[in-house]
Amino acid sequence: MRKIILKAVILVGVLMSMLGCAVNETATVVVNEDGSVTQVIESNSDLLASNLKIADTKTGFVGNLLKVQVEIKNDSDDALNFQYKFKWLDKSGFEVAIDGRPWQPLTITPYESKIVQGIAPNSSVNSFKVLVQD
């Protein structure tokens, strides 16, 4: 009996540590030269992907700067505390203003979604990544 409890505690601990460290969802959005948008949403954690997901992304321009909007949805019946961060890339795929944006804390109530927005740091940016982690 003791062994079973011990194993269960170890398993929960390992799972918790995995949840605590991983970037769970990543959306990469590229605005092509013809104005069309290519969007790739990746998830590297099935456990959290079922609760928290990037539901939609939108892009536009203010002047010559890329403006982006991301909808993050909580599909669980618990309030979720998580963090998100934008990364900006130029046409050649180089990251612009590295570490220019911080991880931002956010809370979403059960079954609600929240919109987060960002403006590219300069006009060379034509694509972005949004990272979400718990």
Partner: protein, 197 residues
């Protein structure tokens, strides 16, 4: 007796091992969320700068104004009305850097006026600088806008919880007309609960 010796050897071994390895130091992510205390921290500074810069450069009249030219701005001090000691110049430095890198604004640096004056005086008076290549007095550009603001906080606490609310306001004023062209706000709420473990 034997046990005491063994323990002494283990203790000595641990002391030596700790001396050899030295203090444990590691580098962290400067953009990570920092929640050490409810006091003003790096995440608050970075969030304020990111939000206000986004607001300013996406405000339609500012977008229109900066489409063809890069207005010159002067950054005044931020009034710290909180009860904490906060280096507000660090916030305005970050805002200024982001605005400059956006390619939308230029700045006159009032913190460097004395050093600039001394350098120009040296170029004019020392006799060491070619007069044709010396920076001339009276040619600097005056700022068209002033960026200034306030920072305030409300702190409430009971026996188990501390709630801190920060509000940072930034304003852009046209120096000639006195018209406020833009104002932006960033609010932050942090709650700390006493741990009983």
């Amino acid at each position: 007796m034997k046990l005491v010796r063994i323990l002494a050897v283990i203790f000595a071994g641990l002391v030596l091992a700790s001396c050899a390895s030295g203090p444990k130091i590691s580098y962290g992510d400067a953009t990570a969320v920092e929640t050490t205390t409810t006091g003003f921290g790096s995440t608050d500074l970075q969030s304020i700068a990111a939000k206000l810069v986004d607001d300013l450069i996406s405000f339609p009249p500012i977008v229109q104004m900066t489409a063809q030219r890069r207005p010159v701005v002067f950054v005044d001090k931020i009034k710290n009305k909180t009860t904490e000691h906060i280096d507000t110049e660090s916030i305005t430095d970050t805002v200024q850097t982001k605005l400059l890198q956006s390619g939308k604004f230029r700045f006159v640096d009032m913190t460097a006026v004395k050093a600039v004056q001394e350098q120009m005086q040296f170029q004019m008076d020392s006799g060491m600088v070619d007069p044709g290549k010396a920076a001339a007095f009276g040619k600097q550009t005056g700022a068209e806008f002033m960026l200034y603001g306030n920072m305030s906080s409300i702190i409430k606490r009971n026996s188990s919880t501390k709630d801190v609310y920060y509000k940072f306001t930034l304003k852009l004023v046209n120096l000639e007309s006195g018209i406020m062209e833009w104002a932006g706000e960033k609010e932050i709420r942090k709650t700390g609960e006493k741990s009983f473990f």
